[in-house]
Symmetry: C2
Subunit: 339 residues, 2 copies
DNA sequence: CTGAAAGCGCTTACAG
DNA sequence: CTGAAAGCGCTTACAG
């Protein structure tokens, strides 16, 4: 390997252009006017030396990192790429870099690798940051935006999420009203996952609104995961518990339900109607096509970045942004194809 | 908003613990032995002050960023999450942070936001970095690993990719040998995309090996994209060009082909056999299930990080890592279900 | 094992 | 409009 050539510094540029480093800095950052000819000389010197300012030095001197941090739970499921895409695009549009950090499950209560020391603000997905860290960061006034998670009492952190309850309620009501289903399974998401809690609430309210009792045996874990959901459903079948529909919690779980049902010889939607949540790509391709609720995940990412940027810039922010969801009727609920 | 509290520095910690900043630094980094009781005092002080070292200062002083950069073309398609997941996991396992930067299409020939000034090494997907930048970085001995792209002449940059040609050849041979197909469409990926070039080569060699002529009218653009692929196929149909199979270039394109064929009333695989490449999740769920080649994308990401780490550590690296692909026979080629 | 001090490469009041 | 110089907050030879 060739030896690492020592890269040029702002001093080299200043010398070559015959100016001070302050002037070079001004040309680079456009922080104050510089006589055009001088600026041109500096630009030429920069080009000739192929000078690129060291971020660390800029950050240290300016106390701005120009970097946004994204903390999320493990990259898994069909959900994540949409979120990331939105965050990435908006971050770039705002002129920031993106530092991503994923935590395996429940975060340890120690300073994360992302924080005030290396970012200008943090995007926190669900419970990927411990309450303690959240409190500490929040107390110092560090810009923070939560996604799909309500701030604990006393914490004033803006949050961006989707309308889960409404979506779930409309979905379950459709099952009841249009298809006469009365014994509807609900598959919960991961423990502590707020999306799941709200969807469950929508489920319960839909039942209540139609005078249907809640059978707690019909509520079990799907974990927003294909395998777990499939296993849970299989257990219900084996236990001989009677049901005529499944609200799978999310689309990934719905896939697992499809599998378990098909393996057990039950037909969808004749024997059991199945609905999901999210509207991932797969939803419109499986057989039967999946009735679900469209969640604007990419928009959540974009909007969260926008709020974070406002926070950083000291502008007023929305404490709560609730993005609308939309019922997507396909075949798995029992509606005819091409609805 | 509360005023931003000035966060503690290493000087505050040193003062509180009654030692020098050098000692604090040693405790934090474990760079040299410190008397246990002293170390404990320092740790206590760190905890009490909730001190977190500023990355910028550490980077500037140590000249190590502990950050890996990933440059890729726009986040799109079913391919990307797999790659990212592998990169992310391996980066974390190696104790690095990940900075992600996406470029829209053909990169402008100017220094990227990622480079020697803010990372210890760079992972470059396909042609997301201009040749000029690649040359400059490479010339300085900066650690670089390419993914799915062969370095230009003269550049000695390790590369990690998958066995495209073999996979494509086996796939097309299967169409010819097992299903008697002779007029096989090939849908190219984006211009300059090496995966596509190799797959085309596998396609041509398979035809040649079976004494079949190449009809250039059967080779057109799919762009590794559902919409483009669908449109291209529709054009072939309208032009009345005869074909009995389609090798779609990748799975996303195959989905588009499915759509176009179904819209035209052609049955798969009876009228036209369709095969893809990658084996994304969707492949096993669509109807008919998609015969394809499994590409170990996640492993590409992981392996690329491993090579980059070796480069950074000054260890010898593999100039070329070619990960094996595997034929996945399903129904869309004409094989019976449950093969 | 520990400390004093130089140095990493920028930015930014301040003065002119 | 420009420069001299202090300062950002760490790490790391060097000396002891």
């Amino acid at each position: 390997m060739r030896p690492v050539a020592k890269s040029p510094t702002i001093i080299d540029v200043a010398r070559l252009a015959g100016v001070s480093t302050a002037t070079v800095s001004r040309v680079i950052n456009g922080t104050s006017a510089v006589v055009p000819e001088t600026a041109e000389r500096v630009r030429l010197a920069i080009q000739e030396l192929r000078f690129v300012p060291r971020s660390a030095a800029q950050v240290l001197a300016s106390r701005k990192t120009n970097t946004l941090g994204l903390i999320l739970t493990e990259i898994r499921g069909a959900f994540f790429p949409h979120l990331l895409r939105g965050v990435e695009a908006a971050t770039r549009a705002a002129g920031y870099q993106l530092l991503i950090y994923t935590v395996s499950d429940i975060p340890a209560d120690r300073p994360t690798l992302l924080g005030e020391h290396n970012t200008d603000g943090l995007l926190v997905f669900t419970s990927s940051l411990s309450l303690n860290e959240l409190q500490r960061l929040s107390a110092t006034g560090f810009p923070l935006v939560l996604m799909h998670q309500t701030p604990s009492d006393g914490l004033e952190i803006p949050m961006v999420t989707i309308e889960n309850k409404d979506g779930a309620e409309r979905l379950v009501s459709h099952l009841i009203e249009s298809h006469g289903r009365r014994r509807i399974v609900f598959l919960r998401g991961p423990a502590g996952h707020e999306d799941s809690a709200w969807r469950e609430r929508g489920y319960r309210e839909a039942l209540a609104a139609h005078g249907l009792p809640v059978d707690e045996r019909l509520i079990t874990l799907g974990d927003f995961d294909e395998v777990t959901a499939g296993a849970s459903l299989q257990r219900l079948l084996q236990a001989g518990i009677d049901f005529d529909a499944v609200f799978a919690g999310d689309d990934d779980s719905a896939i697992g339900v499809f599998r378990a049902l098909k393996a057990a010889g039950r037909s969808i939607p004749q024997d059991v109607a199945v609905v999901g949540f999210d509207d991932v790509q797969l939803a419109s391709y499986i057989t039967p096509t999946l009735t679900t609720v469209r969640a604007p995940i990419e928009e959540v990412g974009r909007e969260a970045v926008r709020q974070l940027k406002r926070l950083i810039d000291g502008q007023p922010v929305e404490p709560l942004t609730l993005l609308p969801t939309e019922l997507v009727i396909r075949e798995s609920c029992g509606c005819p194809a091409g609805h």
